[in-house]
């Protein structure tokens, strides 16, 4: 401990960030009937209740499904947009960037209401999940875009030229040279997209299909009438799921590559 002040400062920041989560996780193991911390006795009963609650189970499946679909679409569109932005936008570069980041700049409620009007105006409505998926893609797109364009900016154009001189066509160059080298950006962006989609409330609340619900909405709904530790169990499971996604993709897809 060479720098006690700095160390203390870091500990405080971590405490500030993690304390609420620890409280929720702690409260989820409550044996009592009310959402309290510290828990009144330890038990897994609220997890059992949660896993037997069909409404929650359906909501969690919907959330995972929407997040997965939105991540794939957003990852593809965002990567292509970043490619255009870095390599071909020329004097439109700044305009493209602002347009891509617009969903970040607008309040989410506004985006949601505008989209709601839009899906009804074009006749899609909210009988399907299309509107909600579109909304999720919209709000996650900037994160993919930012991450991928950052890694593209450090992509040396002479790598592409070298591959060309060695006889590689456009597709081969993308697959074998560019994609592996910008992979950290793509995966990072996709992770952001997944987590944000999984957690978002406003967009889902406005655009969810009739009769469907995502986990955050279902939780909010539940908390309006109940105050049991089941809510904490739901939150804990949601946190664990997010962590699992991050860790698995890091291990399986690999966020690290060789750099100089």
């Amino acid at each position: 401990m060479k720098r006690p002040v700095l160390t203390l400062y870091c500990l405080l920041v971590y405490a500030f960030l993690l304390a609420p989560i620890l409280v929720v996780v702690g409260a989820s193991f409550n044996a009592g009937n009310f959402l309290t911390f510290p828990p009144q006795g330890l038990s897994l009963r609220w997890y059992v209740t949660f896993f037997h609650n069909d409404v929650f189970m359906r909501a969690i499946r919907t959330s995972l499904w929407v997040a997965a679909v939105a991540t794939v679409i957003s990852g593809t569109i965002g990567t292509m947009a970043a490619l255009y932005y870095v390599q071909h936008a020329g004097r439109w570069k700044e305009a493209v960037r602002i347009a891509m980041l617009a969903p970040l700049l607008l309040p989410e409620v506004l985006t949601a209401i505008a989209l709601l009007f839009f899906v009804y105006a074009i006749g899609i409505g909210t009988t399907t999940m299309i509107g909600m998926v579109v909304g999720h893609v919209l709000i996650t797109l900037p994160f993919v875009f930012i991450n991928v364009s950052a890694s593209l900016e450090s992509f040396d154009p002479s790598w592409d030229m070298a591959a060309r001189s060695l006889g590689a066509g456009r597709l081969t160059r993308f697959r074998r040279i560019m994609l592996p080298l910008i992979k950290p950006g793509v995966i990072g962006g996709a992770l952001f997209a997944f987590i944000i989609s999984f957690d978002t409330f406003t967009i889902s609340f406005m655009l969810k299909g009739i009769g469907t619900s995502t986990l955050p909405i279902q939780l909010f709904d539940y908390l309006r009438t109940n105050f049991t530790p089941e809510a904490a169990a739901v939150s804990t499971v949601s946190i664990v799921l997010t962590l699992v996604v991050v860790i698995v993709s890091e291990k399986v897809l690999g966020l690290r590559i060789h750099r100089f």
Binding site: S158, M161, G167
Partner: protein, 358 residues
């Protein structure tokens, strides 16, 4: 193998002419350098030969076939970049295999070719290293190997030594030159370093502002520069004023020479063009051609203003009594100090007639 012919090649960016109608014929197996200051269009020329830039006008022929419309990936060229451009996510082996895979070379042949080339660049045993595990000089040699292993028609190098330190740079000059001789591949080498161009090339193309100022063998460029700009770019020169004298110089030794009156007396000077008697001309005089002697031994008289010792040579700045300043370079075996008065001798063959004085 391959002869390259470039005809009136031009590249415009907007209204700027980066390359302005250059023509070069490169013989099979020749090592040619594009030499010029930064921004004179060397890289652009190289990129047009490689196919990375489209030519605005003109033709590029490999063995007589126009390749202007052939995309870079089909031109069969080997390219070495200033920053090496090794693929950072691939090992040395994988970097070398890439071009062979594109050519669908069978595995056994691939392995033997990679081994052979790695041996040639003295990197056997480095197959499994990643580029970031190699020194700059080693990366440079991998880049060279990667370009050569595909056995391309032409080898193109863009300032490949610019990122190396001075000592390694000199070693690599010799290394690349020897390798090129052994492989016998037609080579275009871009550099802004005149010493590099001189030591490595069969012929040097000196470029300024998108145009060719002179093409010739290194000795030609150095000893018979086309104009002042070339003379100053390929080495240090002293400029001496002179006046053309009448009368002809006879005998074979006098062919192509003009008699010029200068501060060094009347000298017979090599020149490309004839000038009328009485014309004021500018002569170039190379610093290493001048001889210094203690005062009172004939020649032009002057005083040593400064002396710069650098081991193998000494540089002197001499103020002549006729008010000209000379830069003189000698071996360090003479004992002349700052402030000494000196006699300055310049042999006739140290002069070159650059042209009429401006």
């Amino acid at each position: 193998m391959t002869e390259v012919s470039i005809e009136r090649l031009t590249k415009t960016f907007g209204s700027a002419r980066a390359v302005d109608g250059i023509s070069i014929r490169i013989a099979d197996g020749e090592f040619i350098s594009l030499l010029g200051p930064s921004g004179c269009g060397k890289t652009t020329t190289l990129k047009m030969i490689a196919g990375f830039e489209e030519a605005s006008e003109g033709a590029i022929r490999f063995d007589g076939k126009d390749v202007v419309n052939v995309p870079a990936e089909k031109r069969d060229i080997g390219m070495v970049f200033q920053n090496y451009a090794l693929f950072p996510h691939m090992t040395v082996d994988q970097n070398l295999a890439f071009g062979l895979e594109m050519r669908k070379i069978a595995k056994p042949e691939m392995l033997s070719r990679i081994a052979k080339v790695l041996d040639m660049v003295q990197l056997g045993g480095y197959s499994d290293r990643y580029p970031n595990q190699l020194s700059g000089g080693q990366q440079q040699r991998v880049a060279l190997a990667r370009a050569l292993v595909i056995e391309p028609k032409i080898l193109l190098l863009d300032e490949p030594l610019a990122n190396l330190d001075a000592k390694l740079r000199e070693e690599m000059r010799v290394f690349i030159r020897d390798l090129q001789r052994r492989v016998g591949i037609t080579t275009v080498y871009v550099t802004h370093d005149q010493a590099e161009a001189m030591t490595m090339s069969d012929r040097v193309v000196v470029m300024f502002g998108g145009r060719i100022a002179q093409i010739g063998a290194p000795s030609d460029i150095y000893e018979r520069p086309e104009n002042l700009e070339v003379a100053q770019f390929v080495g240090q020169v002293n400029l001496v004023r002179g006046t053309i004298l009448g009368g002809t110089i006879t005998g074979p030794a006098g062919a192509g020479k003009s008699r010029v009156a200068s501060v060094f007396g009347d000298v017979a000077v090599d020149s490309r063009a004839d000038h009328a008697p009485g014309t004021a001309v500018t002569l170039s005089l190379r610093p290493e051609a001048i001889e210094l002697k203690p005062a009172g031994q004939g020649g032009a008289q002057g005083k040593v203003m400064a002396r710069y010792y650098s081991g193998s040579i000494i540089d002197y700045r001499i103020a002549l009594d006729s008010s000209e300043t000379l830069h003189v370079q000698t071996f360090p075996n003479i004992r002349i100090a700052e402030g000494d008065r000196v006699s300055v001798h310049a042999p006739a063959d140290g002069f070159w007639l650059l042209g009429a004085a401006q």
